[in-house]
Amino acid sequence: MATSSLSPKRDARRSLLRVSPKPTLLLGLLLLAVFLAAALFPAQLAPYEPAEFDYTAIMQPPSAAHPFGTDNFGRDVLSRVIWGTRIDLQIALFTTLFPFIFGTLVGALTGYYGRWLDAIFGRIVDVVVVFPFLVLVIAIVAVLGPGLLNMYIAVSSVGWIYYARLVRGEVMVQKKAEYAQAARVMGYSPARVIFRHLLPNAVTPAIVYLMTDMSLGILLGASLGYLGLGAQPPTAEWGVMIADGKNFMVTAPWVTTFPGLALTAAGLTFSLIGDGLADLLRPRA
């Protein structure tokens, strides 16, 4: 194929990556790999069992035997942080996946069809956004009962709104573009126009928000875990661990610090990836 010698990068044009990724994105992916390893192989990586009591080593500060120290039951904090990764990544995924898919779908349809569909959507949005997100989620969990599954249900039933709003606005802009009108003049079905032409050009902000939302999801899961509405003790979950350790904050700060750091690092990971993806997914003009 004849390509211009001016631009050696052109050969990579068929691949998804049309621009070289930023170092921050690579850092994000590296961190993600670390978290995934911890989530997939906790038994191999963790030096102790997460729920193994050791009454001979209660509230030990970090040492060679217990790099992150031990908590009030003598459980190894490092092992619990590693086992907690699995739960918290699962929370990140399940609190965002359904809202992303369903919200994108609703946003695409309301943005494309407008009129009464959009009017109904607008009223639902009004109802939901008058409540602070966390308060609404807590209320729903309180009704359904505490636990991870009910937390997913609660977050999903509220969270899709934000994706839908994002995608709706973007679809409304894109459908006015001439390529979308050309697709209609081509006689393509609405489904084809929406999913093949509009959505690929409208979904980028939602994907970027998905990444941010994943870190928010972890924080939310940890918050609800802390409040006793999410994961239940003795499950090794970062929020639950922080809640458990809060009474010994002064005497044994490592019990709360390390799960807190893990939480922060996970949030950072998704933010870095989201930021990097935003650059990669932006189409060339």
């Binding site: 068929r14 573009a177 001439e178 390529y179 003049v185 006689g187 690929p200 050009n201 003009a285």
Partner: protein, 341 residues
């Protein structure tokens, strides 16, 4: 050649104006932009009909109504005997295959995420223009047809210049083998040097493929160059239709005369004789009563403010919507002039 392929009669279209909530509460009357106020037009098989007019005169709205991007409100569109406005589903798809459109903006008319070959292949497969295994060959054929290199197939729109993108747009429209092409300001976004290339391509294709072309433009010289016949639009109306040579040599409607006089001429020896039109284009929110042009017409008389002139063949083959050419008025005006002298 003389058979009418597309017949538009008394087509109307208006767009509601979004009033601020406060105004609505105060009970302000609902305002509408009257984009088309009774357009009548005939396009003959195999011809190029140029549609000219100032911006805001409704030419693009007309083009979009013809391909059903907009739904007209009143009047009829008849294509090859079929009522276009009543087409639904499969029949509409079949119509869209026969009547295609090329868009104005080369920078937004192509899906930025699809390569040229994806764009063309989609049209070819959805409409089953050719068997799947021939799609690749057909794409190359189309690229050659519009003068693009075979390597263009694998590229994304952002790798092309404006002129090349318009060629891709033409290739996309031609991929479904239409009979009629609606070109809405095809080249107005391009550099003048590139305009000629694209327009000549269109002329060439029209000849080769026996296309019927509706060429919507505001550039009179382009329209002169490309069209067999020209329709002049003013404020949602067609005010004059005639052969290109006739309309440029002997324009009848005062608006056409003014439009031609206002067009810049590169020949300094020619001086414009007719005074250019005075005043601003009235807002399509408030279309004047009677003849829409009477507010700016140098020849307007009282009948013009009351009665809208019909588009009539005052001279055979030359349609004009103007009371000046009405036989009775001519007689009266001639008498008036005789009295004055």
């Amino acid at each position: 050649m003389s058979e009418a392929l597309l017949r538009v009669e008394n087509l109307t279209k208006s767009f509601p104006v979004k009033e601020p909530l406060f105004g609505r509460l105060r009970g302000s009357p609902k305002r509408v932009v009257r984009a088309l106020t009774g357009v009548s037009l005939e396009v003959r098989r195999g011809e190029t009909l140029g549609i000219v007019g100032e911006s805001g005169c409704g030419k693009s709205t007309l083009a979009r109504c013809l391909v059903r991007l907009h739904e007209a409100e009143g009047g009829t569109i008849e294509y090859d005997g079929a009522d276009v406005r009543a087409l639904r589903g499969g029949a509409l798809r079949a119509y869209n295959r026969r009547v295609q459109m090329v868009f104005q903006d080369p920078y937004s008319s192509l899906n930025p995420r699809m390569t040229v070959s994806q764009t063309l292949a989609e049209a070819l497969t959805v409409h089953r223009v050719c068997p799947p295994r021939e799609v690749k060959a057909k794409i190359q054929e189309l690229l050659e047809l519009v003068g693009l290199p075979p390597s263009a197939a694998q590229r994304l729109p952002h790798e092309f210049s404006g002129g090349q993108r318009q060629r891709i747009g033409i290739a996309r429209a031609l991929s479904v083998e239409p009979e009629c092409l609606v070109a809405d300001e095809l080249v107005s976004a391009l550099d003048v040097s590139v305009q000629a290339q694209v327009v000549n391509l269109l002329l060439e294709l029209q000849e080769k493929l026996h296309l019927t072309v509706l060429f919507v433009a505001h550039d009179l010289r382009l329209v002169h160059h490309i069209s067999h016949r020209v329709a002049v639009m003013y404020l949602g109306n067609v005010v004059e239709v005639a052969d290109t040579d006739t309309i440029f040599a002997r324009p009848q409607h005062p608006y056409t005369q003014a439009l031609l006089a206002a067009a810049p001429d590169l020949d300094p020896a020619k001086k414009s004789v007719v005074a250019a039109v005075r005043g601003e284009l009235p807002s399509p929110l408030k279309v004047p009563s009677g003849c829409p042009f009477h507010t700016r017409c140098p020849h307007a008389f009282d009948r013009c403010t009351r009665e809208k002139p019909g588009l009539l063949p005052h001279v055979p083959g030359h349609l004009t919507a103007c009371h000046l050419y009405d036989a009775a008025e001519r007689h009266r005006l001639a008498k008036g002039e005789a009295l004055q002298t």
